[in-house]
Symmetry: D3
Subunit: 331 residues, 6 copies
């Protein structure tokens, strides 16, 4: 593969299952979830909230692995079929390229995005102990070149758009606080160079419907369609006895992506299976990546379940567009 060509526009080997008979939902789970067990590598307490992309003729990914000290680390992994993954036993050691950068402190909830000539990895990184958005890039998933953190703390869920818009790199993120933040909206920031960021805008606020009443955050890399950017995002409901993490979708303006064109008030998927309801954090479905085959419009969405394992669900771009723009279900 030439690393400067756009990878993944057509993904002939996209993992796929047809929608089950009788199912009318625009999204359906893979029948053999979870695809990655919590103890798939020796050091792991859990593997979840991870990002995968087409790479070479197969697939690569950056995986959140919480080890048995419960330290949060990122590991690279590879797969031929995007279902069976070989995850490196050793965590990624980011190369700071001789720059005087703040060191990697911890890493969780990574996203990976091909832009122009390389894969950009963004994740929740520690800066003097506080969460913010770490930035690195790779071309081979072996060497990861760390760059400056994008923002001041406290931030999480930094998600790149897959191309420059208006001449700038564009990132979604969710400003947070220094704990398990009880609020969270999706903002957008721009950068000419992936180092300095500005022109911040609020894109969506939590509360549009109860499943996303407490906080929301961007999920996979937005998918470009002729209708707009298709954004899959998670939302959190605070019940009388804990949180529930579901995910839904919205459509953003192509050239002014801080403008929401449409959003369905319903969730796409909420935690209902044992592997979503039971684990280190019960009742979590948290999407971090989507594979999109432009030839068929098929989507394979990767999500962490119960902060413990990695799962997969399927849909198509058209089904999600229909869902997002459904006139009776707008928020």
């Amino acid at each position: 593969m030439s690393v400067t060509s756009q990878p993944g526009a057509v993904i002939a080997n996209l993992p796929w299952q047809d929608r089950p008979a009788g199912c009318n939902n625009p999204l359906w789970r893979y029948s053999d979830n979870p695809i990655i067990r919590r103890d798939q590598i020796a050091c792991a307490n859990s593997i979840f909230n991870s990002a995968v992309v087409p790479f070479g003729g197969g697939f690569a990914g950056v995986f959140r692995v919480d080890n048995k000290a419960r330290l949060m680390r990122l590991h690279a992994g590879f797969s031929d079929d995007a279902i069976n993954w070989k995850i490196n036993e050793e965590p990624i050691v980011f190369d700071t390229q001789g720059k005087n950068l703040p060191r990697f402190e911890f890493g969780y909830d990574p996203r990976v995005c091909w832009i122009e000539d390389r894969y950009w990895v963004t994740w929740c990184n520690g800066l003097s102990g506080e969460p913010t958005i770490g930035v690195a890039w790779t071309r081979d998933f072996k060497t990861f070149h760390q760059e400056e953190n994008a923002f001041l703390p406290h931030n999480r869920n930094g998600v790149m758009f897959p191309r420059k818009i208006g001449g700038n790199f564009v990132m979604l993120s969710r400003p947070s606080d220094n704990g398990h933040t009880p609020f969270g909206d999706i903002y957008l920031s721009q950068s000419p160079d992936m180092t300095f960021w500005g022109m911040h805008r609020c894109v969506m606020k939590a509360g549009a419907s109860p499943w996303q009443g407490l906080k929301i955050g961007a999920g996979p890399i937005p998918i470009e369609t002729d209708k707009g950017w298709l954004l899959i995002y998670h939302g959190v409901l605070r019940s009388c006895n804990g949180y529930v993490y579901s995910f839904g979708a919205a459509l953003l303006d192509l050239e002014r992506p801080w403008k929401v064109i449409a959003a369905n008030k319903n969730y796409l998927l909420s935690p209902q299976t044992p592997y979503e309801c039971i684990g280190d954090v019960p009742n979590v479905a948290f999407p971090c990546a989507a594979l999109h085959d432009e030839a068929t419009g098929r989507l394979a969405i990767y999500y962490g379940a119960a902060d413990t394992v990695v799962c997969m669900a399927f849909s198509t771009v058209q089904m999600l567009l229909d869902f997002v723009t459904h006139p009776d279900q707008q928020v």
Copy 2:
């Protein structure tokens, strides 16, 4: 059926299973719980905390259905055997009868009570966004006539007595706050006309034993016995990692129902099965209705499990009276 005759005094088709061999508990679960799945109708995220009554030769009910936006709605439903239910796909639209009433904002945890000539429905209704007790009546479970909300916010768990007492309608309720209230006692109020309410009294306070240490609230319509009103109610324990919703029983004075005659310090049922422990809200057993066959004294108690599904448990009036008045177990 003549709607002005007392329905359900004798329920020949009451659902029933005998107490399992070896079981000494005064209450036992239906062997095929849950009886209503979370996705029994298309729009539903979950169906739970619902009320059923004898209706015609069969049964009708008002069901809490949280949809996939997680909006809380009420749906009517019908059954021949009180086990297999047909729930309307569309939520109840309350008829305000041309009165200038505050609109229905949301609806949860309904109860249904036949008094004199109609079925009264009470539920947690929103008034300018805050929870209080909504009131409506129906004779056919098709048209529901909304009346004024009974109380100022914040209130939940409004439960009618099945006849006037001392010339007034009587309702139990649980004053609350504007969130997931960390307190809650059972109060009683009276009304000459179902519109204006007063003569408020405290009936029971939380804390009589640890399973009901944090808050309590009335469950099904109280059952009249010659010993007093048999009240089944839920209680909440705050553990070191969340809440546990169980239910127990007490006996109230027939003519001064704010007087507690007896109460067992133990719960009747606590969440122990997978369908009670796993779901949108783990560890919840929340009773909202009971069918009582006066001919046999048999009881079928309907309770929401894990804020996700509807379940059933069985007992008899005599067993519950023995439980409630057990001399060694008084609170």
Copy 3:
């Protein structure tokens, strides 16, 4: 005085000071505040948040007196000039008239309102330890006849309208929680008989401007004008280091008093003097009564300062109407 004639329509001996030269505010403080010291009677820790009315040829009042155990009690008091007050050493003992009423548990923040043929006293009363609105009436400020509490807990700041509207008694109140409530909106309820209450409506919500950002509650008895009911109310701002209680004004529809016609976004008075800033609760100005001379339109407003003493401020109905309806300052 005939107790059945409307007292106080003309108050020739209304206390008064002209607006100071150079002052452009619609409200100005009495120059010799506070008018009632914290230790004016022997048992008192503090005297504040109290209600005064014309009575006989002079004035009477119901005073909040927190004693040295910090128990909250109500005391009657009398004055010839509405400035120099003689407060009874002994608290009011409410006469339950042989009715089986919940006992008086504590009393704070009283209001007094002449309606038709008697003075109605409303206050924050305890019901099984929880705050709600107590109701009593008197004709002589010696015997106070207690009636049923108006509402279920938790409620505070019950304020009567001075006449029936649409055939019903009408009360404003502020539903609360069981502590130092971090929220609070003004609601309205109606009653045919001062015993049973219903037809609840939300009148105003906190948050219209920052000085009233956290919670609001009605103050003195609303003043009837040809433009509407003039409502003076307190609002609370949560600063980075505590609360600030100020007060402002709004105008309610005469016949549908749950409709707000106008409201100024500014406060009328905020705690700025030493007696408002220093005391048992710093930074509190809390109005509970207003004397209105219909002949001149003059107003003497009584407010508690720092939850410690009673103060007075002056205005006129016209100035407050101009303030409330100022087109550039609407919320």
Copy 4:
């Protein structure tokens, strides 16, 4: 058995299963967990967090039984094989020996320790309603002689060392607050006589790694080795949606046991099985006892799961020493 000889130094009938093939962990679960069901005796809501010791030729224990009122009680129990237990239906009634002691109020999380000539039982006892460390002793598990509580409230997890050190009895404990304490470190105290305690030292603080980030507390009686005292302790992680109770190990200096010689940053066991993840308190693994056969070095560790049942895991002293002193994994 002579009660004055050291019991349990060699435990020929120690329950045991070999490490499963392919398992590299230093600890492995019993294949038939849980060994004690939640409803093993009639009054029980749950049985967990319990202590067992060699006794006679078999085993005895003190069991935490929460009854159906959710009152926390201690029951004695006996076993031939340390797997199948006969637990007394009636709770232990502590004999205060005619001393004017504060009464037993509640009992949870017991530990049992043979020292010199008797079994000492320590547990979380109520003193005027607040948790502290109760102390009693027995020689026959029939009569339990209560002594003075060791400490002022608020305290939990009092764990004795199995011999005097420096002439004093020595106890670990975890000072707490009056609720579900959000902090907790392990302290050590000394006593010449088991009545008066002093010379308090801090041993370990929470936070050495994320699994033990919120609070920690000693587990089984420390095991004496020639390398030091082997301490198994629980730690709590606060996730974005609740707590996770895992356990790990450390090594303390033999003669100055407040000195930590080594501690592995990883946990030994975290809640991952259904019986650890589902129950009254999800995600809890809480060790309270260990049987140690000096002849083989084998360990059977007893831990409560989900605050609902009793489970068992196996290891050897050597494996744990290797784990604790692993040079690459020190905290």
Copy 5:
């Protein structure tokens, strides 16, 4: 003065002012409060909550001095008249006598008590950063011999009785948490040797009346009278906007001092003056010492005001006994 004779039984030079004319309170403030300014020594941010005793022919004391880093230190001071104090510029450096004690970490709210042959100083000391009761003794207020901390964290307000009772040293204290504790009751502990402590009892709980509703803690060394131990203690009320620290009194049984014989429901003094209401912590009156002249029964009580300065108030033993035992004012 011979340091082994009982100091202070007769204090001819006790500071004194007669009760002001017209004052009926059992306690009255010194007219020239505060007696110690916040900046009386160069390093001081504030000087308050301090303990004084007769010493030689004059007086000595241990003073809480918060320096300009706001570190809490203890300083010795001396006075001829107990009003004008010379406080050492340098903080006390405690002599650990070669013992391997936890070091002094911080010191606040000291008390000083002569028992048998020396002055014992108790204060809130840090143990691994957490508050507990430090213990030291002196005979000359120059050398202070530190001993073991009395208790495990978290504790404050350790107050000795001035003689052994039943053969043991006796201390009151207030178990706390690791922050600004929202609860607090008075407990009693005993020790044969001032090193090991046990036989803990609850003496008084917060909540007997509202001024002491949140927490209470012992103040000066209890004063022995033939009626019992006269205990002056502080209590805290949580208002809607902060705390108020007042103080009152109770009478404890002479030989079983954990038994309360009498207690007045009213406070003796609440913060009402500018120096009590304004300062680093508004609305605090916090007594730590009392001088008692047995010849006259006069008392000079020393209390910190607003956590900023030291003040004095006067009473007599007889007045306080009358107050405490007043039959109409018992809690």
Copy 6:
């Protein structure tokens, strides 16, 4: 004045008072504080936390004015002597220059900094309701040109360095949360163009001593000295009854200003006067500006008191350098 020359290097008319006799502190208050009253302009509730600079031959400033709705606004003001100020009655209307910027939502705690050719104003601005750092510039204090907000929410206390360092603009700020943040450290960010920001570093964390235990934030524009950047900053202590805002100083490396060279553990000034202790927010001293006369080294520091008024204190650069580098007082 030429607006492109460096203003204020020499300020012949700097306001000044000599250090009072007997005062050894490195900072002393102006004898006639406050210099700006809370009601100096008609719309004002309070004027505080404001920034002043040399301008023309006199002085100009940007003032925080909270109006009587308690909305937070910025007003320009002018003075000949930097003591007597004329503040514009109308708030600043920021000119967005035709750019599509987020609108000004509110403004508080401004700083003003001359860099190269213009005055940059930074303040706490609202972005979709959340606090972040607004940026604008002016040359005449009449027209203020708004630019993009520097950061994502939530941020406060954005303070520019007065020259580029290493080719970039440099700003200090304090990441916050969406409320009255209970944490806060000082970070540094860089920008090539005042629009895009990056290269974030942590400079100082709260907690170096108790007066700055909870949170810290930069105050006036750092003052360049040959020893380093002299930074005056505020710190907050959480007492048992509220917060105390004091200020101190540190010295930062000239070319790597995220490196702290020295910092005194003591505060320079804490709230002790009535105007600092009483007001809308008691116990606040909050510096936002300093005038520095390079000829004499004199400093006039402007600080808000009690979030109500503007005050002034004096020092010299040398005194502050001595203070900051005092070898016995380093944190």
